[in-house]
Symmetry: C2
Subunit: 611 residues, 2 copies
């Protein structure tokens, strides 16, 4: 196992990474790096030009002119802005200051030399360097280059071969059969590297057969400056990547001390780097970001960096001391402090990449730390963009995704953490979120307010009703609450309002939880409950109507509950929170609730205040 | 004249800006905004999968297993990572923990339910929203979308017609004759708007003829959602844009209170916005950035924003109180504070756009402020990128551009301000730059050190020699220093070392400056001197040999001088400054000095320290 920093040094010293040039038409050069300095072909302007509408004059002829001493000029030339000022003249007088007579032009003010003249070379001189090499070309550079006579730009590129391997793969666009996997890692790699100016070739998918992999790899090494082999980099019985690389060249590193991404391989064939990229999508993403991007930067492609922001981490972490660990996160500013919440760490959970706007690198040597530690979050979007994140932590409901959709139109990015209602209350208390969706039934029959009073005593808060929503039993065949002891069940996690509702109903009906088979099987969203039922893992579960409807399952109502969003008073005027509040009372949102089904909108948008 | 904020409100309220959709293949969707929410076509994974190599078991069969109580399993299935876990099983045991026997599998530890199983829907559930609408698609989103069965993505676009007008225009790629101008503004507009996802059509250039402009405009309005007419927006005799718009629709705004960019026009034809964009390149850039980008954002294209940084402005400003003024600047961090230096404000100087990494907006209502004020600089590059800026202020030499080129390879961006040697000393004193190139001859015959001692008394500083360089008289016909009184001359600005050298030489030779025709004509770079001579504006000037050589002019040496870079001791370990220092002693740099000519490299890289 090689450390990440040793791996990166090896990439810098073990390969020459000679920059590769290509010429592209000017208009297609935005976002590319110049391969050579670009020089102006000629001066701009090439001759002196009038900067005003008026007359071109010899300044010495105007000497002595004044309010009381008009001077009549015979040697002068009518010019408009942009016209050439011929060599015999050295100044321009604005037409407003000129009296045109039969015999010439009368002026009442002397013109200093070079007044209102754009001198030749004012913008740039012939042979002057307009852009250095290794300059990232911006749209505003293009006007200048066009004006300086540049039509083609030499830019840097790298030819990258991407080889997807795995007998279980199907190309994207095909619905995978059980056990098949859509080949998406080389699609992500091509998108990422192509956007930096690389020329990527995705080779046809190769089955787990060392001879076939070897053949494709030979071709790819011949045709490219860098080759990435997707999957097969572990040490399993069908993992041939290392063996094939070793057969054609040498394996320099097998196993990098990073998580996710550990099985990465660095090889060398014909002096060219060959990277073995693990098959799990988030392992692949980590290897691309932490190993391949620095490598293509050595070839001269632009760096990708949005900087870092110090933020408060919302969980305690313990980790393997030997590895750099990377955790995808949601980053947002709550009040004046930044908060960093980890997303699911499963290496197969691509949605964590989609949902994240930052990640945390916990370096090797660190064993872990306590919740609340201030850590440097690495941004994967601009800081401006991260500053538009609305952090929502608490009970999950499918409608939260639709709130996210409506908020995007206002430029606000909703980041939802499914922590259950109690998790939401605690996140609100710790100022780790802006808003907490909750549906907690108290003993007095009221929802939510008793819990806020208990956990945030004395705090000012506002509750805005999303809807009265129906919870019930989801099944394929009309199982009702009373039937539960006779069927397998899938539960929600402890602390979720749905779990508490179930427990409340079981108590009221005198049913022991131990009588429910599967009571200990926990999932964290309504849709996950419905999916478990649809897939046959369980026969019944408890969820909201909209989740059952989305998957075409049957639903027997158990109870209606008040689903509200809790917000601390201090955040209510935050523009991100106000945007949320205005959407909750909008007709579009009511229309969506109606369409999803199972929501009574009578109370939608109603506010309740504490204390 | 309409204020910018009124103009922007009018754009929001006066047009419907209905988003326009198109479908693009997944791989080409990076950087685009989703037009609709994207839903997963199926669950990922669709069935339970093994998360480890091992055996799939029924967890209840494993109950009671322990070190001292091995359990033999008959109902179990050998699985590899990624294999389907059939419905009858609910856990996986790692192969390392299994003893395979003839009759089955022996285990010594119970497996809790769902151990090492990736449940169906772990990543995403069927029908779940993967991306909301108005989401800016990143490369890391693409892997997920591919995995979720998405092959085409509905994204937002705007069709934009760009009409270049002006009889003086030639297309880019043609060398303009005197008085002609390369049409570059619509090239810049296409690059800027196209990179956000707009479909731009550049119409053929139209002469200054209202009938022709009208015809093209009619077609463009028909074919696009938004039309931009380049140039002809002023009130001059050949400015027809407003008249033509009024003839086909209405002119809502003629003249926006911004500088540069004042002559902008907002019109409406067939309910569509038509923008009149001024012809001067930096006026056009300002109108694109301040008016057109917010307008296309209304259509749903992504916002362009790199944020702002508070910085110390290095000049005093006075301005027209009625306008928002925008000044292109170089921004860099000197020590712990950010410094903002304005670039040339000529509306025709496109190099200011190329050289800038930020701009300052001074709002209407502000009359000006004193040098040293802390102002919010708006970035035009990432903050990371701006943090790599090396600010170099002082004497100009063509070799500074080559230093910039070599620094780019190390990721450092040299921003050079041509302020002359004395300007450099003063900028160094005020901590407004990292390094100051200087060549100031003192009365004791030494260069630079006496000036640093005088202006930065007691300060620690380092001088690194660039070269001993030759200054001399540039001309077309071998004019020497003694011939100067008989020819027209072009001078350098007061405070520049070259000007001081000239004055020194004139004094020594007893020549009165008033005897030199053109002594009062000042330009700010060596190349500008050479250009003035080449263009015939002057017969002679004083500059370095490399500038004369670059333009193929004759050169008569006058003196050799020590051209050094002065750095305050406190900045010498700054990585940007160390990169500069290492380049000054590199063989590549010596090679460039030799190639440019006129530089004696004996002392190149030699350090002198103060005090």
């Amino acid at each position: 196992m090689t450390s990440l920093s040793d791996t990166l040094s090896l990439l810098r010293t073990g390969f020459s990474c000679t920059p590769v040039q290509e010429k592209v038409p000017l208009i297609r050069s935005v976002g590319r790096m110049t391969a050579e300095p670009i020089f102006a072909r000629y001066s701009v302007p090439e001759v002196h030009l009038a900067a005003m509408d008026g007359i071109a004059v010899r300044s010495k002829d105007t000497q002595g002119a004044g309010e009381q001493h008009p001077v009549n000029l015979v040697r002068a030339l009518r010019v408009n802005t942009g016209n050439v000022v011929p060599p015999e003249y050295d100044a321009v007088i604005m037409i407003e200051d000129v009296h045109v007579t039969g015999e010439g032009f009368t002026i009442r003010k002397a013109a200093p030399p070079w007044q209102h003249v754009r001198p030749a070379g004012e913008d740039i001189g012939e042979s002057e360097m307009a852009l250095p090499s290794h300059h990232l070309i911006r749209p505003s550079d293009l006007g200048a280059l066009a004006a300086y006579g540049i039509t083609e730009v030499p830019v840097l590129t790298v030819r990258i071969g991407l080889i997807p391997t795995g007998s279980e793969l199907v190309p994207h666009g095909f619905h995978p059969a059980p056990g098949q996997v859509v080949e998406s890692n080389t699609v992500m790699a091509e998108a990422m590297l192509g956007s930096l100016g690389a020329h990527c070739t995705r080779y046809p998918m190769v089955k787990d057969d060392p001879a076939l992999i070897r053949k494709t790899l030979q071709q790819a090494v011949l045709e490219n400056d860098l080759v990435i082999i997707s999957a097969g980099s572990s040490a399993g019985t069908k993992d041939y990547t290392a063996e094939v690389i070793a057969g054609l060249g040498e394996v320099l590193v097998h196993g990098v001390a990073i998580k996710p991404g550990k099985p990465a391989i660095i090889g060398r064939i014909d002096k060219k780097p060959v990277i073995g990229m693990p098959g799990y999508p988030l392992s692949a993403l980590t290897v691309l970001r932490e190993i391949v991007l620095p490598l293509v930067h050595e070839f001269g492609l632009p760096p990708v960096s949005f900087g870092t922001i110090d933020a408060r981490f919302t969980i305690s972490v313990s980790k393997d001391i030997g590895s750099d660990e990377f955790i995808l996160c949601s980053l947002g500013r709550v009040g004046t402090s930044w908060v960093l919440t980890p997303l699911s760490r499963g290496a197969g959970v691509q949605m964590s990449a989609v949902r994240s706007n930052a990640y945390l690198k916990i370096p090797a040597g660190v064993e872990g730390f306590e919740r609340g530690k201030i850590v440097p979050a690495t941004l994967t979007v601009s800081a401006e963009n991260a500053n538009r994140a609305l952090l929502v932590t608490g009970s999950h409901d499918p409608v939260v995704d639709y709130l996210a959709d409506l908020l995007q139109h206002k430029g606000i990015e909703l980041h939802s953490t499914h922590a259950g209602s109690m998790g939401g209350i605690l996140a609100l208390k710790a100022n780790e979120c802006h808003a907490a969706p909750v549906h907690l039934l108290a003993e007095n029959g009221d929802y939510n307010i008793p819990y806020l009073k208990k956990y945030l005593p004395g705090e000012e808060a506002v509750l805005i009703c999303v809807a009265e929503r129906q919870q019930g039993i989801v099944s394929k065949n009309g199982i009702g609450f009373d039937d539960l002891p006779r069927h397998t069940f899938v539960n929600r996690q402890r602390g979720s309002g749905t779990r508490m509702l179930l427990d409340h109903q079981l108590r009221q009906n005198g049913v022991e939880p131990s009588k429910i088979r599967g009571y200990e099987r926990e999932v964290t969203t309504h849709l996950a409950v419905a999916l478990a039922v649809k897939s046959g893992e369980a026969e019944a579960g408890m969820c909201v109507y909209s989740a059952a409807k989305a998957l075409g399952l049957e639903f027997r109502p158990v109870a209606s509950e008040r689903y509200e969003i809790a917000i601390r008073r201090e955040h209510i005027d935050d523009p991100r929170v106000s945007a949320l509040c205005s959407i909750l009372i909008s007709p579009e949102f009511r229309e969506i609730l109606g369409r999803l089904g199972g929501y009574d909108t009578t109370e939608t948008g109603v506010r309740r205040s504490l204390p």
